[in-house]
């Protein structure tokens, strides 16, 4: 079994999972630069500890843990950023690369999801984790992960329906 520390071409590995990791981290920071800091710290930490590459749940749990530490370290800044972000146009720092208006609306709808639903959908859709891995990464049961996913899809469908 391959492990990340002995993975010679880690860039290929990171090219595959980097965008998903970054999107996952963006849920807590809202700023791309901070999210990149978190991803860097988590990826290097994961690599340094010789964890298996396929232990994706642990990698995402590491990102989450570092992101939460980041929030705790700088609560005031996070609060200020959250306020600014809430008032700002989400297209200022896009989390997605959309090609048309429909995708733009979908991205906006994802951003409006409740946090617990959004993190499950981010892990499931753009990081391709199984419900078991999501449960491990978030410290919840598989049933909870699956039901949050269904609620997220239902909410998205509802918000995308023409008024």
């Amino acid at each position: 079994m391959d492990n990340i520390a002995s993975h010679e071409n880690w860039k290929n590995c990171f090219s595959e999972i980097g965008p998903g990791l970054l999107l996952f981290a963006r849920q807590w920071t809202r700023s791309a630069a901070d999210a990149e800091d978190i991803v860097q710290e988590a990826f290097v930490k994961f690599w340094r500890r010789n964890h298996k590459i396929n232990n994706r749940a642990l990698l995402y749990a590491t990102v989450r843990s570092i992101a939460l530490d980041f929030i705790r370290r700088d609560k005031r800044r996070a609060r200020r950023e959250a306020t600014v972000f809430a008032e700002a146009d989400p297209s200022v720092e896009p989390q997605f690369e959309w090609e048309d208006e429909a995708q733009s609306a979908l991205a906006a709808a994802v951003n409006c999801l409740p946090h617990d639903q959004r993190e499950v959908i981010v892990l499931k859709i753009w990081n391709e984790l199984t419900f078991s891995e999501i449960a491990d990464a978030l410290g919840i049961s598989q049933n909870t992960a699956a039901s949050r996913y269904r609620y997220a899809l239902a909410n998205l469908k509802k918000s995308l329906q023409p008024q």
């Binding site: 860039k11 990171f14 980097g18 965008p19 990149e36 860097q40 989390q95 979908l106 753009w126 239902a154």
Partner: protein, 186 residues
């Protein structure tokens, strides 16, 4: 789930923003630094020490050896009060005594200003036998007289005290002793 398959496909078609090229460079640098740090950390560890720490069993041996070394070091602090008191007097006595003669060290209970602040003196030693076993008679190679072999399991405790600071040190360890007692045949 089938109700959402179209929505799931739409979501998958939406691509997350890619990390900046700077992030790749930063991760590369961080990994290179970590690799250097781990190599330099590993260098000072001698190969024999690494062997000890590789497995829990060997680590146990290493730990036991370290504990024995600490015990020897502690035993060297002061196991013989008289000898060390003499040494203390020799160390702290001035070369020429011009004033009235007084002992440089006033004994175990006395606190003297001439005692170095980091000096511990022996404050007691106990040996508690918590198990003894008679292993029967046996004959030594050089003698026809039978010997009774007794095995004692004890707990030994040594105590030291620093009279100037009031600090005390206590070392306790289990020990096993085998005693051969000649038996007279009558």
């Amino acid at each position: 789930m089938n109700d959402f398959s179209e929505l799931e496909n739409d979501l998958r078609a939406l691509r997350p923003a890619r990390p900046s090229p700077v992030l790749f460079e930063r991760i590369e640098e961080a990994m290179a630094e970590n690799r250097k740090a781990s190599v330099s950390d590993a260098k000072p560890m001698a190969s024999w020490l690494r062997r000890f720490t590789e497995t829990p069993y060997r680590f146990g041996i290493g730990l036991a050896a370290a504990a024995a070394a600490v015990l020897l070091l502690l035993a060297r602090i002061n196991t013989d009060p008289t000898r060390n008191e003499d040494k203390e007097i020799a160390q702290v006595s001035p070369p020429v005594e011009t004033g009235p003669v007084r002992p440089a060290f006033s004994g175990r209970n006395g606190v003297d200003g001439s005692i170095s602040s980091n000096k511990f003196i022996s404050a007691g030693a106990t040996q508690v036998v918590y198990n003894s076993r008679d292993e029967g008679l046996q004959f030594a190679d050089s003698s026809r007289q039978p010997l009774r072999r007794l095995r004692y399991q004890t707990q030994q405790t040594w105590q030291w005290r620093n009279p100037s600071t009031g600090a005390s040190l206590r070392v306790s360890y289990p020990s096993e002793e085998v005693v051969l007692i000649p038996v007279s045949g009558q």
